[in-house]
């Protein structure tokens, strides 16, 4: 699961960098090493992420949703959950590490 996700992320990085002329050489180098032909995350990844996010502790899930899906700043998140910015950053990082662990356990979706 994670390897697949990283491969797609790398492809997306390459696609993005292709739009940036200053990074053209980097793009070519990365493109030579990439074998993935997909440019979007699969439904399986989306579903695995949805389930994994739902399983996060409330305080971590809240920070992830506010930051990544609502686009709030950490200061806004901290104010919303009555905590500190530093604590919210910590929860955010922990949540992503937890997701990494869970996704690595899940295997590749079909």
């Amino acid at each position: 699961m994670l390897a697949w996700l990283y491969t797609v992320a790398e492809r997306r990085l390459i696609d993005e960098l292709r739009r940036r002329s200053r990074a053209a050489e980097t793009v070519r180098e990365l493109a030579r090493t990439s074998t993935d032909r997909h440019s979007h995350y699969t439904v399986g990844i989306a579903e695995a992420l949805r389930v994994s996010i739902a399983g996060l502790p409330d305080e971590q899930r809240t920070v992830v949703v506010m930051k990544l899906l609502e686009g709030r700043t950490f200061a806004e998140v901290a104010a919303a959950v009555n905590s500190t910015e530093g604590a919210c950053k910590m929860r955010f990082s922990r949540a992503l590490r937890t997701l990494r662990t869970r996704l690595s356990e899940d295997g590749l979706p079909t």
Partner: protein
């Protein structure tokens, strides 16, 4: 509130800065952003990884621009003190004043003590870290490419283990004070692009004695118990013992019940009233724990809510026959802050959040019941625990 919600998400430097040296987490953040429904207008699909790469370039440029000029004397001696071999072995500890064990009879508090032992092979880029909390080993992790802290070891310690010597070697260290009187010499070391640690150096051995990092709450200081560099030994990087799989839990359903049913449950509780608090609602929960050697298993527990005219916030209690992950017992065997469970007659209490909005979470075992107490008042948590254990 930030009104510019429609700006390009990855132009916001916060996620980039936080995850700059953790590409796997950046990839996961990117995937979440791209696959999960946004609550507001969806932002342009711009990769966080692209921003990360550009950010890394900027960091590299700024590192060159601010290349330190002071790289002699004390720093040379500090480097020489840890240059005997490729493996840097260190043991560091600190105590947590807001993560304590309280003896319910005497009221005596003992702060949690964390000790982390690290081995870092600079050539092989391998890191091993062992974590003890209150004398109990809770983690033993091996990372082939030590790019970031694992889930168990403190990031400041991991970055110190892998970054201290290389910062001294590469010139990413500066003398803050050469010491005088009773104070030890101090240097700052850039152990990662986003973390600088202040290290005090022993006058005689020139080895690090403490290292400190700024935090939201002030400063986090670690005592270096021992540090040595040496040749790699066979046992340093043996594959870690098979770790139990992550255990997670959740509440699957709840049903409100009467106070009389709480009494007949046989589970430990403080009664309908204690310390000015009165039971206002009670629920019977169906729980599930997943992962670990036992696999999926169902459980039951009670959730109680109390109110007091002296406190604006409620106090809640969760109680069950097992250390349920859904009730905050990490891995089904540790406290919410990953400490070993306290002995009978004691309660582990940790502060969550910072004043004035902090909460306190207390956990204890009593008469075959595992109890989690949450309140905005530490004294109320202790009062509830005493009512439960009969020490009121």
């Amino acid at each position: 509130m930030n009104r510019d919600r429609r700006k390009r998400f990855f132009d916001d430097p916060e996620v980039l800065k936080l995850l700059r040296d953790e590409p796997e987490l950046l990839a996961i953040a990117d995937a979440i952003s791209q696959t999960q429904p946004h609550r507001e207008a969806r932002r342009p699909r711009v990769s966080v990884l692209a921003a990360a790469l550009l950010g890394a370039v900027l960091v590299a440029v700024s590192a060159v621009a601010f290349w330190p000029s002071e790289h002699g004397g004390l720093i040379d001696r500090a480097l020489a003190a840890v240059s005997a071999g490729p493996v840097l072995h260190a043991r560091s500890e600190r105590t947590l004043p807001n993560d304590v064990v309280v003896d319910l009879a005497s009221g005596q508090e003992t702060p949690t003590r964390i000790e982390i032992e690290t081995w870092f092979d600079q050539q092989a880029r391998e890191l091993r870290s062992r974590v003890w909390r209150n004398g109990v080993r809770i983690a033993d992790a091996l990372q082939q490419e030590a790019s970031a802290a694992g889930p168990d070891a403190d990031r400041a310690v991991v970055l110190f283990a892998r970054g201290y010597r290389s910062a001294l070697e590469s010139g990413h260290a500066r003398v803050v004070s050469s010491g005088g009187g009773a104070s030890a010499p101090r240097i700052t070391v850039d152990v990662s692009p986003d973390m600088t640690e202040v290290v005090s150096i022993d006058r005689e051995t020139h080895k690090p004695r403490t290292f400190a990092v700024p935090t939201a709450a002030g400063k986090e200081t670690w005592q270096v118990l021992s540090v040595a560099s040496r040749a790699r030994q066979r046992t340093d990087f043996l594959p870690e013992a098979r770790r139990p799989a992550f255990v997670r839990g959740s509440v699957r359903s709840q049903k409100e019940i009467a106070g009389a049913q709480v009494r007949s449950s046989g589970l430990a509780w403080p009664g309908p009233r204690f310390d000015g608090y009165a039971l206002v609602r009670a629920f019977a929960d169906r729980l599930v724990a997943e992962g670990g050697a036992a696999g999926r298993r169902a459980g039951r527990g009670l959730r109680l809510a109390y109110r007091s005219p002296r406190h604006s916030q409620p106090l809640t209690i969760q109680v069950s026959r097992r250390a349920e992950p859904a009730y905050g017992f990490a891995e089904g065997r540790l406290t919410v802050s990953f400490n070993p469970l306290p002995r009978l007659g004691k309660i582990a209490i940790v502060r969550v959040g910072a004043p004035p909005g902090e909460r306190w979470v207390g956990q204890l075992e009593h008469a075959g019941s595992f109890v989690t107490i949450r309140s905005h008042s530490k004294a109320s948590v202790i009062g509830a625990a005493r009512a439960i254990s009969g020490n009121a």
